[in-house]
């Protein structure tokens, strides 16, 4: 359809077609990456916390935990720390929507002649990409904690990080859709990010726990992302069956050990539901 004023109005007309939606996804994604790489300080500081956890807590608690050869508590913690890196980066990127709202830039995106869903998908794609980049940089530390640089293992972990990153970013965007104040960010950190991290099995095995804690860990979607990553690591290290039993017993539902495919399926479902709700939230807002 043309406007009858081709010389003044641009020839193409954005109007909810797939092309303009994809363009919107791309441009929002690219902005996210531009900002990510421009903020060197954030890039650096977001490594400090995971490395502290891995080296300080991992070494400290390692004295209490069983080990054999090069496999120790830090080996156990490594997939958890990858998940932590992805969690923090993904949620931080997603929640930057609240900043965009406060400083007005969200409006620039929402008034564009594209569907709101495309903006949300772009934001998720951008946040997930930055989270995977951060996670991949952490992955390079594998050798320090007795995890071999096997291409199969690295690719498996990368793939699992991608799934987890998408789910967490979508969840974060959904949370941000209802937040209008920057102060809410602190609340999200305290009430969502930290509990999600602690209950995910990142720093202690989600097995042999008291009932209340066991139930809470199984309600944490991140737990279903950490376990497949840990299982991948433990198939590539030589750990005794006793050590496997202690550190890699994984998530069970009434004694049944969940298959990896189901665990990842749960994460994918969280991603799909969060993304759908987030798109819906932004689309209905005036």
């Amino acid at each position: 359809m043309t406007t009858g004023v081709p010389a003044v109005a641009p020839a193409r007309l954005a109007g909810g077609d797939l092309g303009s939606d994809l363009r919107a996804v791309k441009v929002v994604w690219r902005r996210e990456l531009l900002r990510f790489f421009r903020n060197r300080l954030r890039l650096l500081t977001s490594f400090v916390q995971p490395i502290l956890f891995l080296l300080v807590i991992g070494t400290g608690f390692g004295a209490l935990a069983p080990s054999s050869g090069s496999v120790n508590f830090k080996t156990f913690m490594f997939p958890g720390i990858l998940a932590m890196t992805v969690l923090f980066t993904a949620l931080f990127s997603a929640i930057s929507i609240v900043w965009d709202r406060e400083f007005g830039f969200l409006r620039e995106m929402l008034v564009a002649p594209v569907r709101r869903g495309a903006i949300v998908v772009g934001k998720c794609a951008g946040g997930a990409t930055t989270a995977v980049i951060q996670g991949s940089l952490m992955l390079l530390l594998a050798g320090l904690v007795g995890v071999p640089y096997s291409p199969v293992l690295l690719l498996t972990l990368l793939g699992e990080m991608i799934i987890v990153a998408i789910a967490l970013t979508a969840l974060g965007v959904l949370l941000a859709s209802r937040m209008s104040e920057i102060q809410s960010f602190q609340a999200v950190m305290q009430f969502i990010v930290m509990p999600m991290f602690f209950l995910s099995g990142a720093i202690f095995p989600p097995s042999n726990l008291p009932r209340w804690l066991s139930v809470l860990t199984r309600l944490d979607p991140l737990a279903y992302g950490v376990d497949p990553m840990r299982r991948a690591v433990f198939t590539h290290v030589s750990a005794t069956p006793a050590l496997q039993e202690r550190l890699n017993a994984g998530i069970t539902w009434g004694g049944w050990r969940l298959p990896i495919a189901l665990e990842l399926g749960i994460v994918v479902a969280v991603a799909a539901v969060s993304l759908t709700l987030a798109v819906w939230q932004f689309s209905k807002a005036e």
Binding site: T3, G4, V5, P6, A7, V8, A9, P10, A11, R12, L13, A14, G15, G16, G19, S20, R23, A24, K26, V27, R31, L34, R35, R38, N39, D100, F103, G104, F105, R107, E108, M109, L110, V111, A112, P113, V114, R115, E286
Partner: protein, 346 residues
């Protein structure tokens, strides 16, 4: 066809404006926020190439109207068409034909000027091969070419506003909406923004729809719509509006304003009011009236000023108060409805 309007395109657009095609048409627009009526039945038309000004105090319903025209707010009832597209039925088509500059900045401080512009160009689907040229053109129009690679966070308020105007133009919109384009800027910057707006109207053959509560700025417009309490009071050119008022305004500085007002009523049958510490009233031939005033008032006068009608007088004539008084009372009204203030101001 390129996204860049060629000079031929601009000329063609001007020819169309001669034929007075309507680019913005609002018909009985109404918007309620709960039980507060922000806009109650506004209708008007804007012709191609005009600078159309919405003039009124804060809280008169200007931003609410602009938000409905820009598809950001659904009208409670009524309809509007921009460039032929219905704002409720075809919001995406409306959006691709308008440029928006809001009261509050909507730039990304952590990106450079040209990155902000490129983001916008991509989002609005300006063809990649036209982008560089388009970017150059809008940046040079607002004198920001040499700052293109600087982070927007380092810009002053005036530079940000100029960049936003440039951004609003990148996709060659038919109508540029400017919501209080000079609010919060110093006088020099305000004057420059107006230079840009006039130049823009000449070079891009664009229609400009703006809101303002500065009377002096309304003088720049081709036509003005005076809005008060959610209603459109009158629409016409600044000159025609002033001619309608017709009379000269006389302001007196007097020791006793109450006695002076009473004396004016008794001796000359004139209704005067205190406005900004002066007793003000209107007469047909001000300069000839002054000697009569001195002879017949019977009250001391410290100083006297006679002025031709201004838009302030126009506003006073149509609404019964000055725009400043209107702002005070609207401010009080809005404080009682915080929800309206928040939604109306955004």
């Amino acid at each position: 066809m390129s996204a860049l309007p060629s000079s031929g395109g601009a000329a063609a657009a001007r020819n169309r404006s001669d034929s007075q095609s309507i680019v913005v048409a609002a018909s009985d627009l109404v918007r309620h926020f709960g039980d507060v009526v922000a806009v109650s039945g506004i209708s008007f038309e804007v012709r191609e190439g005009e600078i159309f000004g919405f003039l009124g105090p804060n809280g008169a319903g200007k931003s609410t109207t602009i938000n409905m025209l820009c598809t950001l707010l659904k009208p409670t009832s009524g309809s509007a068409r921009i460039a032929g597209f219905d704002v409720v039925q075809e919001p995406l088509r409306v959006r691709s034909h308008i440029g928006l500059v809001f009261q509050d900045t909507t730039l990304d401080d952590y990106l450079t000027a040209s990155e902000n512009l490129r983001f916008h160009a991509e989002l609005y689907g300006v063809e990649p091969e036209a982008q560089a040229e388009r970017l150059e053109r809008v940046l040079s129009m607002v004198d920001l070419v040499d700052r293109r690679d600087h982070l927007v966070g380092t810009f002053s308020g005036g530079m940000k506003r100029r960049l936003e105007i440039a951004r609003g133009l990148i996709h060659s919109p038919r109508v540029l909406f400017l919501d209080e384009p000079t609010v919060g800027l110093d006088p020099q910057t305000r004057a420059r923004i107006w230079e840009y707006i006039h130049e823009l109207q000449k070079r891009e053959a664009i229609t400009i729809f703006l809101t303002t509560h500065y009377m002096d700025e309304a003088e720049h417009c081709s036509r003005i719509a005076i809005v008060d309490n959610g209603e459109l009071v009158v629409v016409d050119t600044p000159d025609a509006l002033k001619a309608m008022v017709g009379k000269d305004r006389i302001e007196l500085q007097v020791p006793d304003s109450v006695a002076t007002i009473a004396a004016l009523r008794e001796q000359f049958s004139l209704e005067a009011a205190v406005s900004e510490d002066a007793v003000a009233f209107h007469v047909a031939d001000g300069e000839e009236f002054v000697p009569k005033l001195f002879a017949g008032l019977g009250q001391p006068i410290s100083s006297i000023r006679v002025s031709r009608p201004t838009l302030d007088d126009v506003f006073m004539t149509y609404t019964g108060r000055t725009i400043r008084d209107a702002e005070v009372s609207t401010g009080e009204r809005m404080r009682n409805h915080p929800r309206m203030r928040r939604r109306g101001g955004r």
